[in-house]
C-alpha cells in the first residue's frame, strides 16, 4: 500500500520522467576509442554567449528550453560556416545579444559576420532549418522563435534578407515556434516547411514557480510546465514555387493529430516508400509520426508504429533526435533524448515504418542521470558503425542547491557502436571536450576543418558555444557525399544515400533538421573502417536512382543529380 502511495507521488510534476531505473552496466569491452574531442570554441573565435534566461534561476519555462545551431556553407566555398541561435532574458536583453553567424576562415578560426550578413536579431530563438527554398543555389535559413518566426533568403553575396512577410509566413498570433524542417513532401522540387509549436505561453498569465503541482520538481518549486500549459499546434506550409508559401496544415491532415508539446522535427523516409515522412519529438506527450500518403496528406501513426511512447506505454520528454542506420540494415532508426530519471530511447526500424524499442537490448538504459538534448547518430571514429552522441544539461538551476545529484551543468555523452545494435557508454575515453560540464541544448554535427572526421558545434546556455574538434587518431577511411539536386530540390533534402563498404551497407539521408532544433553539415559522412573504396546508391527525391561503384575513400565527393537519360 505504501509503495503505491509513493508511486503516485511520482506522477505530478511539470515534465514527465518515468523514474526509470538505470540498467546494470555490463563488463567494459576494453576496445580503444580513437576519437578524442577538444573544445576549441574560444580559440576559434566563437565568443558570444547564448543568452537564455537568468543564470541561477529560471522563473518561466521559456527561459529553460534553449535553442539550436547549424552548419551551413552560405557562400558555397566548401567550408562550413556556423550559425548559433540565442535567446533573451526576462529582465531585459543584455547588450550584444543576438543570433550569431560565423564565417569559416579555413584555418580553424571563424569571424563573426552577423551584422554584415544582416542576421543581427535578439529574441527568444528556438530552432533553425537550412535549405535552398528558392532553388537559387544558395542555402537559406528559417528560424523559429517565441513570437514571429523568420525566413532569411540568402542573397548569394554574403548577406541575407528577412522575407518572412513576403513569403506569407507571418503569424497572426504570438506562437512559440519550436522544431522546423524544410522538406519536399509533394516531391515537386520545391522545399516545403514543417513547423512544430511547443506550447502556448504568455508572460502576463504565466504562473510562478511552485504555483501548482506542475510547478515543482522533486518537491522543489520550479518553473511551470510543460504540463498544465495549453498545447502548441503544428503547421505545414507548401512552397508555391514563387518564393511564397501556403499553409496546408488542415488539408494535409496535420491538424488531426493528438495535440502535444512538439519539439525537434525530422523529415525523412522512415518506411522506405520514397516519400518523406515527418517525426516530431514531443515533450511529455506522445511523439508523432506523420506518414506521407503520397497525395499531399499525412496520417499520424506514432502509436501504431511504436515510435510514440516508451515500450511500457508511457510518454517521455522527447527533445532531441538522432537519425541513422545503427544496425546497417538500410533503414533509418530513431534515437530520442529525454529528461533525467528516464532512459533515452532507441527505436529500431523494420524498414516498413514499424519500430521496436531497443533501448534496453542495445545497452542504452545504463544512463538516466541527465537531461538529454541535441543528439546524433554519427560515426565518430570512422570504424563504419555509427555511434550515438548527445549533449545534456538540466533545466532547473535551483535544484542542484537542494539536490546535488541533479547538477545544472552536465557532460556530453557518447555511446560507441559495438555492432549488432549494441552500444557501450564511454567513460572518460573521448577527451576533455566530452567530460566538460555545461548546460547544453542544441548541437550540430559537421566537419568544419574538412579533415575527414565529425566535429560538433554545441549551444551552451549563458555561455559561448563549444566547438568540439575531433582529434581522431586512426587509419580508418571515410567518405563525404555532397549532393546537389537539379530536378530535385537543389539542397537534395530527402535524398537517400546507401553506402556499401567492407560488406556493410549503411543508409543516410539529407535532412534539414535533427539533433535538437539544429541542422547538421549537409554532406553525408560515412566512416568506412579499413575499406579503401565504397559503392554508392543514391535515391534522389525526384525518384531517380543513381549508382556509383568503387568510389575512392577519403574524399569529399560532390554529386550533381543527373538528367534521367544519363542514368
Amino acid at each position: 500500500m505504501i509503495g503505491l502511495a509513493a508511486a503516485g507521488a511520482l506522477r505530478a510534476q511539470g515534465v514527465v520522467s518515468r523514474q526509470a531505473t538505470p540498467q546494470a552496466r555490463g563488463k567494459a569491452s576494453g576496445l580503444p576509442f580513437n576519437a578524442s574531442f577538444e573544445d576549441i570554441g574560444k580559440a576559434a573565435g566563437l565568443k558570444y554567449p547564448t543568452v537564455y534566461g537568468d543564470v541561477d534561476h529560471k522563473d518561466f519555462i521559456i527561459e529553460t528550453v534553449g535553442c539550436g545551431c547549424a552548419f551551413i556553407d552560405y557562400d558555397n566555398d566548401g567550408w562550413m560556416d556556423l550559425l548559433v541561435l540565442s535567446g533573451s532574458r526576462v529582465s531585459g536583453t543584455p547588450s550584444g545579444t543576438s543570433n550569431r553567424f560565423y564565417k569559416n576562415n579555413r584555418d580553424s578560426t571563424f569571424t563573426d559576420v552577423t551584422e554584415k550578413a544582416g542576421l543581427l536579431h535578439a529574441g527568444w530563438a528556438s530552432a533553425v532549418t537550412v535549405g535552398d527554398y528558392n532553388n537559387d543555389g544558395f542555402d537559406d535559413l528559417f528560424i523559429t522563435q517565441f513570437g514571429q518566426n523568420l525566413l532569411y533568403r540568402n542573397n548569394g553575396d554574403g548577406t541575407f534578407t528577412d522575407v518572412t512577410e513576403a513569403a506569407g509566413l507571418l503569424d497572426k498570433e504570438t506562437r512559440w515556434g519550436a522544431g522546423c524542417s524544410f522538406l519536399d513532401y509533394n516531391r515537386d522540387g520545391h522545399l516545403d516547411l514543417f513547423v512544430s509549436n511547443y506550447l502556448q505561453f504568455d508572460f502576463e498569465h504565466a504562473q510562478k514557480p511552485g504555483a501548482n503541482s506542475n510547478c515543482t520538481w522533486k518537491g522543489i518549486p520550479v518553473n511551470c510546465g510543460p504540463r498544465g500549459l495549453p498545447f502548441g499546434r503544428h503547421s505545414l506550409y507548401r512552397n508555391n514555387g514563387d518564393g511564397t508559401f501556403t499553409e496546408v496544415t488542415k488539408d494535409a491532415g496535420i491538424s488531426k493529430a493528438l495535440p502535444g508539446y512538439g519539439m525537434t522535427v525530422v523529415a525523412a523516409d522512415f518506411d522506405n516508400d520514397g516519400w518523406p515522412d515527418i517525426y516530431v519529438a514531443c515533450d511529455s506527450t506522445p511523439s508523432l509520426l506523420f506518414r506521407n500518403q503520397h497525395d499531399g496528406t499525412f496520417e499520424e501513426v506514432g502509436l501504431l508504429s511504436g515510435a510514440a511512447l516508451s515500450d511500457d506505454g508511457m510518454e517521455q520528454a522527447g527533445m532531441g533526435l538522432g537519425i541513422g542506420d545503427v544496425r546497417l540494415t538500410g533503414n533509418l532508426d530513431i534515437f530520442k533524448t529525454h529528461f533525467a530519471d528516464d532512459t533515452n530511447v532507441l527505436y529500431l526500424n523494420d524498414g516498413k515504418g514499424a519500430f521496436e524499442d531497443s533501448t534496453i537490448k542495445s545497452g542504452l538504459a545504463v544512463e538516466t542521470r541527465y537531461v538529454g538534448w541535441g543528439a546524433g547518430v554519427v560515426d565518430l571514429d570512422n570504424d563504419g558503425n555509427p555511434d550515438l552522441f548527445f549533449v545534456t544539461g538540466n533545466v532547473y538551476p535551483e535544484v542542484e542547491k537542494e539536490i546535488p545529484n541533479y547538477p545544472f551543468k552536465t557532460p556530453r555523452i557518447i555511446f560507441r557502436n559495438l555492432g549488432n545494435a549494441k552500444f557501450e557508454e564511454l567513460n572518460g575515453q573521448a577527451g576533455p571536450g566530452i567530460a566538460a560540464a555545461h548546460s547544453s541544448r542544441g548541437c550540430a554535427f559537421g566537419d568544419f576543418d574538412n579533415d575527414g572526421d565529425i566535429d560538433v558545434l554545441i549551444v551552451n546556455l549563458n555561455e559561448p558555444p563549444s566547438l568540439l574538434r575531433n582529434n581522431l587518431k586512426s587509419n580508418n577511411s571515410w567518405l563525404k557525399v555532397k549532393l546537389v539536386g537539379t530536378a530535385s530540390n537543389r539542397s537534395a533534402i530527402g535524398a537517400r544515400v546507401i553506402c556499401s563498404y567492407n560488406g556493410k551497407r549503411q543508409a543516410q539521408e539529407v535532412m534539414a533538421q535533427s539533433s535538437f532544433y539544429s541542422c547538421n553539415d549537409p554532406r553525408l559522412h560515412f566512416g568506412l573502417g579499413t575499406a579503401t573504396k565504397a559503392d554508392l546508391e543514391i535515391h534522389w527525391p525526384s525518384g531517380l536512382k543513381q549508382t556509383l561503384a568503387r568510389v575512392k575513400a577519403n574524399q569529399i565527393l560532390t554529386i550533381r543529380e543527373p538528367a534521367k537519360t544519363k542514368l
Binding site: I2, A6, A12, A24, N212, G219, L303, G313, N405
Partner: protein, 476 residues
Amino acid sequence: MSSIFLVRFLRLILISTLISPVITPSKPSDPEAQRALDQVESLLKDDSANPRLLAARGIALGRLGRGPEGLRSLEQALAISPKFLPALEGAAEIGYRDHVPKAALFLKRVLELDPDNAAAHAMSGSLAFEKSDCAGANAHFSRAEKMIANDSLVMAQWGECLIASNQSASGAERLRTSLALRPNEKVQYDLALALHLAGKDSEAIEAAAKLRVDSDSENLRGSIYASQNRVPEAIAAFRKAAELDPQNEQNYVDLVSVCLDHQSFDVAKDIVNAGIANLPDSAALYTLRGAIAAQTSDVEQSAADFERARRLQPDRSYGDLGLSLLLRQQDQIDSAIAVIRPRLKKSPDDATLNFLLADLLLRKSEDPGKRSEHEARKHLTKAITLEPDLAKAHAALGKLLFQSGEQEPALKELKRALELDGTDRVALNQYVLVLRKLNRNEEARAAARQLQEVLAADRKSEVEKNRFRVVRLPAQ
C-alpha cells in the same frame, strides 16, 4: 482508498455479529409448541424410531428454546431417514440460530433436496457472509430476494457483500432498502461508502452528511472529497479524522496520500512526523516517511526509515518493499534483489513479491535469454498462478514473451491483462506492437485508438489532479 477497504472489512466482521435473519425466533413459553411436544413424546413411547415423530419433537424443542435437545432429536431422525426434508430444515434452522458449525452442512443438504428453498438460501447467505464468502452470500441472497426484502439486517449484509464484490451500485440499493426499514448508523456509513465506490460522489456526500462526526466518517468524507478533487475539503476532513482519532495510522496515511498526489512533500513530511509522534511504533508511517524522503532524494533518511519499519514489523513487507524500491531507484538492483529474496523465501506464495522480484530481475537483465530473464519468467508465471487477476503480471509476461519472439503466447497474456485492466498501458502498447508484428493491422489500429483514448483520459485526470497544491500554513 486503502482506509476505505480496511474499514469495509472491519465492518463486515462487526455487522455479522448483529444479524439474525429469517429464522423463527424461539419462545420458551410457547404453549402451542409445548402442547405439540407433549403429544409427540407420548407417541414416541410406542414408536421410538419414527423419523417423523423424532423430527417433530426436535422442531418443538427448538421452538421452546431447547436447541441442543432439539438438534439431537432431529439428528436421530436423520440417522434413520437422511433425506427427510422437514428434519433437515429443522436441524438447519436450529443449527443456524444457535451458531452450530454443522448448520452449513444441513443447509447444503436441504438445498440439494429443495434447490429453491428461499429460507435455506437466506440462511446460507448469512453464513457465507459471516465467513467473508461474499461470492457465496450474493448467490444465495439473490435466490431469496423476496423473502429477505423486508429484513433490514439481511439487506445490510447483502449490501456489504455487493460492495466487497465490486458491485457497489447494487450494494447501495440494498443498503437504501435496509435503511428505509430501519435507520442504522453503520448501514448509513456503508451506504455513503457504496455510493462513493460507485462513483456517485454527490449522493455519497449527501449520505455522509447524515453520519455523526467521528474519525471514520471524517475519513470517508475526506476520501469522497479527494475523488471529487475538492482538495481543501479533503484535507480538512482528513485532518479532522486524525484529530479525532490520533491513534489511527490510516488517517495519516490518507492525508499524506493527498499531499503526495499534489507533490506537497513538505506538508506530507509534517503530517507523517505528527503521526509518528502519536504512533512511534507505526511501521506504515515510517515506510511512508521513507518514501517521501526517497522522492526528495534524501537517501540516508529514506533508508533509515525503511530499516526502522522493517524492525518494527518484521512480519510485514512494508520496510522490505520500500527498501528494495529505494535501492532500485539508486541503481542498486542487486541489493534490491537481495532484500526481496529472503522475504520471498519466507512467503513464497506472495504474488506481489513474486511480481516484484521478476520486475527487478528484468531490470537487471542486460540481454534477452539470460538466466535472470528465465527466472523472471518463472516468478511472473507463479505470480499469475497465485493471483490470476494480477493484470500487471500478465502484461509483464506478455511483454517478455514478445521480446523473446513468442508472439502468440504474448498476445494471449496481453489480451488477458487487458481484460483485467483495459487501461494498462504496458499491455495496450505491447498489444498494438504484437498485432502489428503479426500483420493484424486492423486490430492493431483499433488497439492504437484504444491506447489513444487511455492517454487522453489519463491526461484529463492528471489535469484535474494537478489543479491544487497543498501548502504548509504558517505557524499560529
